[in-house]
């Protein structure tokens, strides 16, 4: 089977950055129109729901620790 790793990773990167870019453009649009921006709305929600927002931050930091602090190697590891 043809290796699709590079194409798949490129599509994943473009999808993530494209989505973030579209959100950023919406931010600029809201800012220019003097509407509350998406980040202001989310910050307002987080201020009211402190425990839930703290839980989301904690979950994402656990994910980060899983990626960069985990000493496990895949089965293909030669080390």
């Amino acid at each position: 089977m043809k290796d699709t790793y590079s194409l798949g990773m490129a599509i994943a990167i473009w999808s993530v950055f494209g989505l973030l870019g579209i959100i950023s453009v919406l931010e600029v649009y809201c800012d220019v129109r003097r509407w509350p921006t998406i980040s202001n709305r989310i910050a307002g929600w987080a201020r009211v729901n402190r425990w839930l927002s703290a839980a989301i931050v904690a979950a994402l930091f656990i994910l980060l620790a899983h990626f960069v602090l985990n000493p496990l190697h895949p089965t293909t590891c030669n080390c």
């Binding site: 290796d3 790793y5 590079s6 194409l7 990773m9 490129a10 599509i11 990167i13 473009w14 993530v16 950055f17 494209g18 973030l20 870019g21 950023s24 453009v25 931010e27 600029v28 800012d31 220019v32 509350p36 921006t37 980040s39 202001n40 709305r41 989310i42 910050a43 307002g44 929600w45 987080a46 201020r47 009211v48 402190r50 927002s53 703290a54 989301i56 931050v57 979950a59 994402l60 930091f61 980060l64 620790a65 899983h66 990626f67 960069v68 602090l69 985990n70 000493p71 190697h73 895949p74 089965t75 293909t76 590891c77 030669n78 080390c79």
Partner: protein
Amino acid sequence: MNLPISVRTTRIAAHRLSHITLALALFVVGGLLGLYVLVAAKGPDDCAYTKDYLPNYWLFGVGGLSLVAGHLLGRLDPQGPAGTARASAGSKRMAHIALVFVFLLSVVIWFIEALGTAQVAAGTAVGASTPAFEPITFYIRCAMYHDLSSISNGYISGGVIFIVCAVLGHWLWGQE
């Protein structure tokens, strides 16, 4: 807080400039990074892990510092957090839909992760060097490995972690 008009105008302009710069940076960096990966990335078979680059405590530290930086950046925002008391019914419904979307996406991601983790032991075809399915972690750690070993000494990985954690701190660490 009542600021002089000139200071307030400067803050609004600086904040707007930061939004425009971020939007442009995301499209340019994402586009170039995707192109680079498309042309130069090697398959997971090449992730031989001949040297231990992970765990990397510096990258985790970058995450923690950028969370604080994102929180402090929120203090420059001239608008401040939007009040939820005067939010319309449609806006509140949208918040609920967004939350459901976030958790559903998390379920899908963790399901794929669990499937990949299970298949590491069970899904390998006879003669294949790489299992049929790999957890997402494997691809991310493989990309970090290449970045740390031969691409940028971890600056690209650190940059991505910085952006993600700064946004988290900016959005979810409550501003007063």
